[in-house]
């Protein structure tokens, strides 16, 4: 368990997050780009160092002790950020003309789509360390995040492939006839259109990912819902399980609903139909 005396560190991490998010809307448009870059690359480093400690005289707290809503956020945001680009490359790989790339992508996607998340989590937490050579150590939380990321990336790849299939051949012809090679053709012409088409599908996968995070309880990590499972056994909270779970459900609903609204507004913003 995260020590009570140190929870202020998590609160501050949340506070910085809230302020950064608010500043996207409050500061002028031209800063938006930089704030988003900061949120993607710098904020995670600050937050992780703040929560784990070990520097600036902060007490080191190992990831096994992390829990609650902050863990929900950490696991889902890392998995969201990484599963998207991996999914894009898998989708492209599956349509590639190079047999090695193509069959590796198909194999990867079908493997991860074919197994339940719960077994993937077990493997990552229990089996995987046994295969590591002596002296090599990988943090459990990191292993779990990688497992979830790869699992969701397989689904993401198929969603994105759906969008790629939907584009008419003429778009490829036009881009090629202007002298674009494979990467320019895909990143300038094909993907912007395909990804726009599958925003609802991508949102679906993202929501599923957030709601899959409670499963990490099977490897002993307790995020929001898991924490309530633990709290209900505390004598102080006996008989209050229902309240706890309803609250957890509400928090998940708020997170998922805001993501779904955001995806809708993105669809509207990117629409170029008349």
């Amino acid at each position: 368990m995260y020590p009570d005396a140190e929870t202020w560190r998590i609160n501050i991490a949340f506070l910085i997050l809230a302020i950064s998010l608010a500043s996207i809307f409050l500061l002028p448009q031209k800063f938006k780009k930089y704030i988003i870059l900061y949120l993607l690359f710098i904020y995670p480093i600050i937050a992780l160092n703040l929560i784990s400690g070990g520097i600036f005289g902060l007490k080191w707290i190992e990831t096994g002790a992390w829990g609650g809503l902050s863990l929900t956020f950490i696991v889902s945001s890392f998995a969201l950020i990484f599963c998207f680009p991996i999914g894009v490359f898998l989708a492209l790989g599956r349509r590639s003309n190079l047999p090695a790339v193509k069959y590796c992508s198909i194999g990867f996607i079908e493997l991860w789509r074919g197994v339940p998340l719960i077994t993937v989590l077990f493997m990552s937490a229990v089996m995987f360390p046994m295969f590591l050579p002596d002296g090599v150590f990988m943090d459990k939380l990191m292993r779990v995040i990688i497992a979830i990321t790869l699992f969701e990336a397989a689904y993401m790849a198929e969603v994105i492939r759906g969008g790629l299939q939907a584009l008419p051949r003429g778009q490829y012809d036009a881009a090629k006839s202007l002298g674009m090679g494979y990467w320019r053709l895909h990143f300038l012409v094909i993907l912007p259109q395909a990804l726009k088409l599958v925003i609802p599908g991508i949102a679906n996968t993202f929501l599923a990912l957030v709601k899959d995070t409670p499963l990490i309880f099977v490897v002993g990590l307790l995020e929001l819902a898991g924490m309530i499972g633990l709290a209900k056994t505390n004598p102080k909270w006996l008989g209050m399980a229902a309240e706890g779970y309803v609250f957890a459900g509400l928090v998940f609903w708020v997170i998922c609903f805001s993501m779904s609204r955001y995806s809708l507004s993105l669809e509207k913003k990117l629409s170029t139909e008349r």
Partner: protein, 243 residues
């Protein structure tokens, strides 16, 4: 005058079906060629082979001194010099008209954005849609979209322009505006290969006419001879139906 495009004994199959049979063709710089023929005769496939949107299996295709084959390493460089206009316009719907025109110059030719926009506005002016530059393709009429597609191809400053039935998907009253744009392009000295059924345009612009049927070039002649006394019976039949 030198040959900018040369096809020698080109054969092409789709699986077992032979779409191009022993095609021989030379195109001079600044020459305008119109290809006509019934549907399924291989005219579109022929011009798509010239920038390798389709692969030929036998024979030689040379464009601007470079032979085009599966070993061609810099096919992108060759394509950048060969503009193409499609029946279905194929504008990029997620980009504005101006961005459609600047995308390839910026990313393929590496022009600075400002320079690319200057060229784009010039070409859009040339096809008289400069006032639509900030709209999206979905907001334009078919004729305007096709003129934008012509401008987009011209922004790469190609040496050759290929037209694949550019007016076949248009309403009759929009055909003229597109043909006008093509006529003024021809007068500017562009090398053009045009697949079309617009015989009025052909008579006005073409130096040479080609009639294709069942994958073969049945007849190639000076435009005047082609219309006044076609040699093969198949051409006569086709012209009697179309004129």
């Amino acid at each position: 005058m030198s040959n900018i495009i040369e096809l020698k004994n080109v054969n092409k199959w789709f699986d077992k079906f032979q779409v191009l049979k022993d095609i021989n063709l030379q195109v001079n710089q600044q020459e305008k060629i119109v290809i006509c023929g019934p549907s399924g005769s291989g005219k579109s496939t022929l011009i798509r082979c010239i920038n390798r949107l389709e692969e030929h299996q036998e024979g030689q295709i040379t464009v601007d001194g470079n032979e085009i084959s599966e070993n061609t390493k810099n096919i992108e460089n060759i394509r950048a010099n060969v503009g193409m206009v499609f029946q279905q316009f194929n504008l990029f719907p997620h980009l504005s008209i101006l961005d459609n025109c600047t995308l390839a110059p910026i990313w393929v030719k590496k022009l600075p954005k400002k320079k690319a926009e200057e060229i784009a506005m010039e070409n859009l002016k040339g096809v008289q849609i400069e006032d639509q530059a900030l709209k999206f393709p979905g907001q334009l009429s078919g004729g305007q979209q096709q003129r934008c597609a012509i401008a987009r191809a011209l922004c790469m400053e190609p040496k050759i322009m290929l037209f694949d039935e550019p007016t076949s998907a248009l309403d009759p009253e929009m055909i003229k505006e597109v043909l006008d744009a093509m006529v003024s392009l021809a007068k500017g000295g562009m090398t053009m290969i045009v697949v079309t059924h617009e015989m009025g345009f052909a008579k006005e612009v073409a130096d040479n006419m080609i009639f294709m049927d069942e994958g073969r070039i049945v007849e190639k002649a000076k435009t005047k001879d082609f219309f006044d006394n076609p040699k093969s019976d198949r051409t006569k039949l086709f012209l009697s139906q179309i004129l």
